[in-house]
Amino acid sequence: MTGVAGRPGRLEAAAVAKRYGAAVALDGVSLEVEPGEVVALVGESGSGKTTLLRCFNHMVEPDGGTVRVDGREVRDIDPIALRRSIGYVQQEGGLLPHWTVERNVALVPWLRGDADPRDRARVALDLVGLPPEGFADRWPRQLSGGQRQRVAIARALAARPAILLMDEPFGALDAITRAELHESFLGLRREIRATCVLVTHDLTEALKLADRVAVMRGGRIEQVAEPDRLVHRPAGEYVARLLERAGVR
C-alpha cells in the first residue's frame, strides 16, 4: 500500500459519472490533484461536489469513468485499507458521541493497529490547537462547535495521511469561529503538506484556503483555476455571477 499510505498523494478523476435514480450527480467529471495541493470544490447544493469528494475514498461507487489514488484505480484497492489511509472530515464533525475526545482522535491509528494510538491522538490534538491535558478526556457534547471541528480535523490527521478529504468542514460555524479555523487550517497546511480536497459552498473560503478552485454546477466542472485567475478570468457567466454574489468582483 506504499503508494496510498505514504507520500505523495496524487488524486485523479477521469470522466467520472454517477447518478442516483434519475438524478445526475456527476456528469463525466475529470479532475487531477497534485501531491500536497489544496483543491476546493465549490458549488451549490446538488452540484455534485460531495459526490466527487466521496469517490476518492470509495464511499461512492462511480457508474462510469475511473478514479485513481497515486496511480492505482480505487476499485482495485481494499476500501477499508484505502479509507484508513485517507483523512476525512464531515460538516458536523461526525464525532462518536459515546467516545472521549482522545478515543475519537485515536480512531484511525487504533483501526490500523498502530502501537501508540493515544500518543498519536495527543500529538494531533496539539496540532489543531487543543491541548490534550484539557481536552483528551472530554466528551464531544462538552465542546463548542469550533472545538468539535478541531477534534474532527485532529482525528483525520492522527494517522498522518497523505490525503485529506474535507466535506464542508467549516460550514456549520459562526463567522468568527470560522475565521479562526481558517487561520489554523492555513497554519496546518504549512506544517503537514498533505494533499487536500475541500468541499465548500463558500467561494470566499475557497479562494482563501485553496491552491486551485473547481467550480461545479449540475454534475460538471465549470472551471478549475488558481484563485487569482478565477477572479480575473471567470470562464463563463455562471462563474462570473458566483464571484459577483460573493462580492469578490
Binding site: 479509507r83 464531515q90 483501526l111 482525528r155
Partner: protein, 545 residues
Amino acid sequence: MTARRRRFLRGGPIPGATLLFAVAFGMLGSAAEEATAMAAAAQDPATGQGGADVVVASKPFAESFLLAEMFAQLLEARGFRVDRRPGLGATEIAFRALRTGGIDVYPEYTGTGLVAILGEPASSDPDSVLRRVRRVFRTRWGTEWLAPLGFENTYAIAVRRETAEEYDLATLSDLARAAPALTAGFSPDFIGRDDGLPGLQAAYELRFGSTRSLLQAVKYRALAEGGVDVIDGYSTDGQIARYDLVVLEDDRGFFPAYEAAPLVGPTLVAERPAAVAALTELSGLLDEAMMRRFNERVEVAGEDVAAVAGRALRELGLLESSAAGAPAVGAGGTRDAAGLLSYLWDRRTTLLRLTLRHLLLVGVSLLLAVLIAVPLGLGLERARAGAEGTIRAVGLLQTIPSIALLAFMIPLLGIGVVPALVALFLYSLYPILRNTYTGVRDASPEAVDAGRALGMTQGQILRHVRLPLAAPVIMAGIRTAAVITVGTATLAAFIGAGGLGDPIVSGLALSDTRMILSGAIPAAVLALLVDAFLALAERVVTPKG
C-alpha cells in the same frame, strides 16, 4: 393457611429450595428438568396405588375447584398421590390437556362436552346427551365420562328481584318482552357458544338493549350493583342466594342437559382402574341443593375450598369424620381490608414460592426473547428490504389472544411450564425486535458515516457505533417486554404453570378479593423491581457522553 390449601394452590412439582437454586444458577436447566419430569409423568405406565401422581385439574370457577378438590381428597383417602392443577384456562385448555395426557381427570358437564367440544346441537334430554358424549369421547379420544355426580348445573338467567317485579318477569318468555330495555352482562364463554346466547336469542327472540362481556367472577357483583340487569349464571351458583336473585324459568326448554361428571383421560382409564373406581364412589351422591349450599360456603362465606370439600366428603360418608384434611374453620369472616396484611404475611412462604416461579417464567422467557430478538434485529438492519415485513409478522403474534395461543400449544407441549414459557417468549419478541431494529437503524447517521469513511469495517461499526448508540432504545424495548411479561405471566396459571396467577385465578373464581390481591400485589411489586433492575442494567450498557 392450611397445608392442604397450599398444595391446592401450588403450580407444580418444583419445591421452593429447588426453585431458588434454579433462579440463581440456571433457569433454563430447571425448566427443562421440569419438562422432562412432566413428560415422564405423562408416559409413566404405573398402575394402581403408589404409581405416578394422579393429576386432578379443574376449570377456573368455584364449583369446578370444589369438585376437583373433592376428587383429589377422595383419591388421597384411597391411597393415591395427587397432583392438583386447579383453574386451567377454559374448556378448550382443560380438555386438550386431558386428551393429551397432561392431566388425568377434571369435572366436566355433559352439555359442555356435547356442544362446546363435539360441536353438536344441544339437547335437553340428559340420558341421550350422556350416551352420545360417552360413545364419541371413548372412540375418538379414549377419554371416559364416569357416572354423573347427581346434579345438573345448567345455565340460569338471573335478574335482580326489583327488576323481576318491575317488569313482572318469571320466565324467559317474559324476559323477551322486557329485554330491549335491559342491559345484559354475559360471560365470554356464554356469548360465543351455540347453547349460550346465540341459541337463546333464537329460541326466545331475545334482543337486549345492550350486551356486555363480563367475567364470571365480576358478573354477580355487577348485577347486584346495577351495572347490568341480566346475567347468565349456573343453576348451582351460591351467589344466587347471596344476592337474592330471581332465576327465570326456561319455559321453552332451551338450555341443554348439563350433568356434572368426572371426565377421565386415556391413561387413567387404561392403566389405573383402581383410581377410576375411587372416583366413581361419588356418582349420584350429589344434588343441586347440596351443591348450591357447598358453593355458597366457598363463594359467599369465603371458606377454604379444601375444608368445604373435606366436609362434603364426610357428609356423604366417603371420608371418616376423624380423617385428615379437616381444618376447623375456613377463612370466612376475615375478608376485610385490615386483614390483608396479615393474610399476606400468613402466606409469605407460598407467595415467595409463587413469586420465584413467576420470576422464573419471566426471566427465562425474556432471556430467550433477548437472545433471539436482538440478533434478529441487528440482522434485519443489514437486510432492510425484508425488515418491516418480518417485524410485522412477529407483531402479529401480539394479536393472538393468549388463551388461544396457549390452547394451540397444548397438543405440542402439554400443560405446565414449557408452553407458558413459549407463549411468554413469543409475546416478548416484538417490543425487543422492533426497538433493536429501529435503534440500530437510526443510531446517529453522522457517527456511522464517519466510522465508515475512516475505515471501520461493518462489524466494527455495529459493535462500536451502532450497538452502543442504540443501547438505550434496545433496553427500552427489553424493559417494555419485561413489564408486560410480568403481567402476562399471570395467565400461566391457566395452563398449570404456577406463578402469581394462581391466587389471581383462584381468587377470581372464588370471588375472594384478598386472594386476588395476594397475587396481584406481588406481581405489581415484581414489575417495578424488574423494571428497576433493568434500569440499572441500562445504565451499565448505555455509553456515557
